[in-house]
């Protein structure tokens, strides 16, 4: 492994973890709202959230490119007002990974929230606990394994994201190059040895992430 390869592996793990951290608060709030609430437009929101799972990643990438490009609605605003560029920077990688991996976390957390007996929450409330306290001391701990399992799945998905990332981030070694992009690029350039070493790393990382999430999800099942 060369220094460049370590940088690519480090960057990939870092940005995948960051995307998980970014998605977590919104994802949990949304998962909870979907599991407990019954509000107008719920099924529409549910469908939209699931889209990145079923749509071609490249198509999702194109949407992001249109919205966050310098001429896009959001990207144009950020560029003109804050002098902040998204496309072709590490922020684009974060954006693509977050959007592509969020559905896995949200779906998994939602199922976990639904499995928590509402009576336990009601009991806590009759004993004087407020809404937030119930959520963090009763709901989240009981759903923890499903949430952590979902996080790991989302993390593994983020590690391997390619289609959306390549659309918005390009391939800038040292700036936006993730393991998947580097494998593709190196094969294109005929540098197979690089590609094979990165392949090994990606197999190991994916194996570890899925194995851990299986462990959490299985234990969760036997408990509830």
């Amino acid at each position: 492994m060369t220094a460049v390869e370590w940088q690519i592996v480090g960057f990939t793990v870092w940005v995948a973890a960051l995307s998980m951290a970014t998605v977590l608060p919104f994802g949990l709030a949304l998962a909870w709202a979907l599991a407990r609430g019954n509000w107008p437009g719920k099924s529409l929101v549910e469908t939209i959230i699931t889209l990145p799972l079923v749509m071609p990643p490249v198509a999702v990438g194109l949407i992001l490119l249109q919205v966050f490009g310098r001429r896009g609605a959001v990207g144009g605003f950020l560029h003109d007002r804050l002098n902040l560029d998204i496309i072709f920077t590490w922020r684009a990688v974060l954006l693509a990974l977050s959007v592509m991996s969020a559905p896995l976390l949200i779906r998994s957390a939602r199922v976990a929230f639904e499995a928590v007996d509402p009576r336990l929450e009601q009991i806590a409330r009759t004993l004087g606990a407020g809404g937030w306290r119930v959520f963090f001391t009763i709901t989240v701990p009981l759903a923890a394994r499903g949430i952590v399992g979902g996080m790991l799945l989302a993390f593994a998905r983020a590690l391997g994201e390619f289609g959306a990332t390549v659309m918005v981030a390009g391939y800038l070694p040292g700036k936006t190059a993730t393991i998947s992009l580097a494998i593709y690029e190196n094969v294109q350039l005929g540098q197979d040895a690089h590609a094979f070493r990165l392949l090994g790393v990606s197999v190991a990382l994916a194996f570890a992430a899925v194995w851990c999430s299986e462990l959490f999800l299985r234990r969760n099942k036997t408990r509830t």
Binding site: L65, R71, F88
Partner: protein, 251 residues
Amino acid sequence: MNNLFFKVVTAAAGLLSLRPAHSAEITVFAASSLTDSLRRVAAVYEKASGDKIVFNFGASSTLARQIEAGAPADIFFSADEAQMGTLAKQGLIDPATRRDRLGNSLVVVVSRDSVLQIKSPDDLTNVVVKRIALADPRAVPAGVYARAWLEKMRLWPAIQPRVIPTENVRAALAAVASGNVDAGVVYKTDAAISPKVKIAYEVAQPDGPDIRYPMALVRGAPQSETAKKFLNYLSAKEAGQVFARYGFLLR
């Protein structure tokens, strides 16, 4: 049941025989900068010959890797000698058919509504030019040429950190057209086909690299006889006129 089976078989056979026996499918792997001109040339040739031309456009470096891996190509039309040379060294092309057909030049393009002024190559080092799209300068011909030019101008160290490498030259063009980069270096012929970009600076000949497009028959081509005919047509005057119309230099 038997009857139905026969009906299906004869129907299928009928469908297959719809293709005239003499028509062949020629597979051409060509540099992405040739996309529009070569399609035009092929459309005329298809009508005249009855043969069908199937294209695989991409960075010449990518196409060369694909041919190395055994892709069923009949003709390789590269944007530089280096990629053709790698295949020649491995005996993957028929050297007797190799010929430099076209020439091209480099230009600096900016988005149509850009206010950027590029009077000399040094202006590319201006702080407002934050991002410059090039085809990947490590292998893709357009990027390799651009890098050679900038190295000759002694500007490469200053420009390299701003480079956005793209998969092929058309992707660099698209990045400029979308406004997501400030400038790009592409072939003059690419700049001409996009209404969303304008030429900010033309690289004149003594400074610019010698850009040559060689073409050759791939060794073991599935359709070598018909492909040879198309190769001859590409060398002929009629095809040359089309290429010239798109701004290529003829060799």
